[in-house]
Symmetry: C2
Subunit: 277 residues, 2 copies
């Protein structure tokens, strides 16, 4: 199944555009797991992520583990276990590895193997700075997705992405190349921050069919209605990510219920924004 | 000690600008280690990398492990061991982690921790696409280095890096920001491919003091004399990387001697090019 079809299935089956980011930071864990993390960090990380996945699965279409949080804590083995759990328990959800790698040739082949084989990712985030050949090894996996960084939600995103090139800002050129050159097999998406709804609109004009991965709601505070209005297309068009607001909704015993509540509310707010034409 | 001082010490102590890239691909290993890799891949990768480091240490100033090769083979534990070996056995060499990460905020903090704490890197390669705040967490480690991707040696590097922005191509803007905004603590370098000596010259004009990490000699075939002429400055100015040409110089029993020979020849060729004013 091509990635776009798989994504569309996830949207429909889950009736949600929400993506839950898995950024396990032991310092922010709820009390009992924070305690456990002192002597058994890998066990605590695994229990926390599985608990979040279980609590939020009914309300989201995708999980997005951020690999930096695992790598800094020697927790690659946990990420492998979570990938297996995702496949077994949540087969209708997208498993999206947030890695933002960007390299070329045989190095990029090894990164693609890391993402798609080792961590069984349905899709992976990639940086475009090194250009077309940095995407080539990922494109070989014709049934998997690639979300290319386009317009990021941080303030420093302006430094280069907003520079005017011959025709338009750099991020628009990235979106254009993604839509026109790279998307031969319905597998390319774009990362566009919720903090810039006006720029999501511009991206939608040059890339009407590409799914967007939109971070920046929740703790980063983007405008949800404006974002949804700008990013939606006929098939859904977006995965809207929230990480910390859901993960760390409560530091108490009720952390799973609290995460479920915030995920449900966020998913519902997205649906309301979609209905609000 | 600031990173620039540490790098200058490495250049002088080793009388070399050569950087040996550690890209362990078991499919290309010499016969006996390839055999061993079938049942003991981690042992084979460790033995190969340690063997290359031992053979080439006299002729180089730096080792550059490329993390993708370790990640795709579940060999993070090997990379940790190599980091310890580098520190214990080759204290005058730079240990440069090639990771090309690029993210922001707490995620970038975790990547910095991965590179500098877990893998004890003296320096790390970083992608600039997300802008200034993606560098901030690395800058907190004031004694470590950061090589920012600037003008890469692959053909796709043209796609975005050569786009004209208001004043000059994107890669020149990256070099300018690196030299003028980011280099407060003598810790920023730039990655510039040997395949474009003319552009190394341009980078040198806007960033005269920044060390350059130059891949693209050896199997990628850049012009060494033109590269050295364009990139050198008073303190040395460059780490010139070669990976495959050294690593896979021989598939026979003599792989260590062959790697040593190519490293010595490459180091000498760089010195000759430096002398050839």
């Amino acid at each position: 199944m091509q990635f776009f079809s798989r994504l569309q299935h996830a949207w429909q089956h889950q009736a949600s555009l929400l993506c839950v980011g898995l950024d396990p930071d032991t310092a922010q864990f709820p009390g009992t797991l924070k305690e456990r993390a002192r002597h058994d960090p890998l066990g605590a990380i695994e229990a926390f992520c599985l608990g979040i996945m279980e609590a939020t699965a009914p309300y989201c279409a995708a999980f997005k583990p951020q690999i930096a949080y695992f790598a800094s804590q020697r927790a690659e083995s946990v990420l492998e276990k979570l990938a297996v759990a995702a496949r077994d328990r949540y087969p209708h959800h997208i498993w999206l590895l947030d890695a933002k790698r960007g390299d070329i040739g045989s190095t990029a082949e090894h990164y693609a193997r890391e993402a798609y084989d080792r961590y069984q990712a349905d899709a992976v985030t990639v940086s475009p700075y090194m250009g077309t050949d940095s995407l080539a090894p990922y494109l070989q996996y014709k049934d998997r997705g690639i979300f290319v960084l386009c317009r990021t939600s941080n303030s420093g995103g302006d430094d280069f992405q907003m520079l005017s090139t011959d025709h338009h800002p750099l991020y628009v050129e990235v979106a254009t190349q993604a839509a026109q050159r790279w998307n031969k097999h319905q597998q390319i998406g774009l990362v566009v921050g919720a903090t810039y709804p006006r720029e999501i609109e511009i991206v939608r004009r040059v890339a009407p069919d590409l799914p967007l991965l939109i971070p920046g709601i929740g703790t980063q505070g983007g405008d949800l209605i404006a974002t949804v209005r700008a990013g939606r297309n006929e098939s859904g068009g977006m995965l809207i990510n929230s990480s910390r607001a859901i993960l760390y909704a409560s530091q108490q015993e009720d952390w799973q219920e609290a995460a479920a509540t915030i995920a449900q509310q966020t998913g519902q707010a997205i649906q309301n924004a979609l209905a609000n034409r």
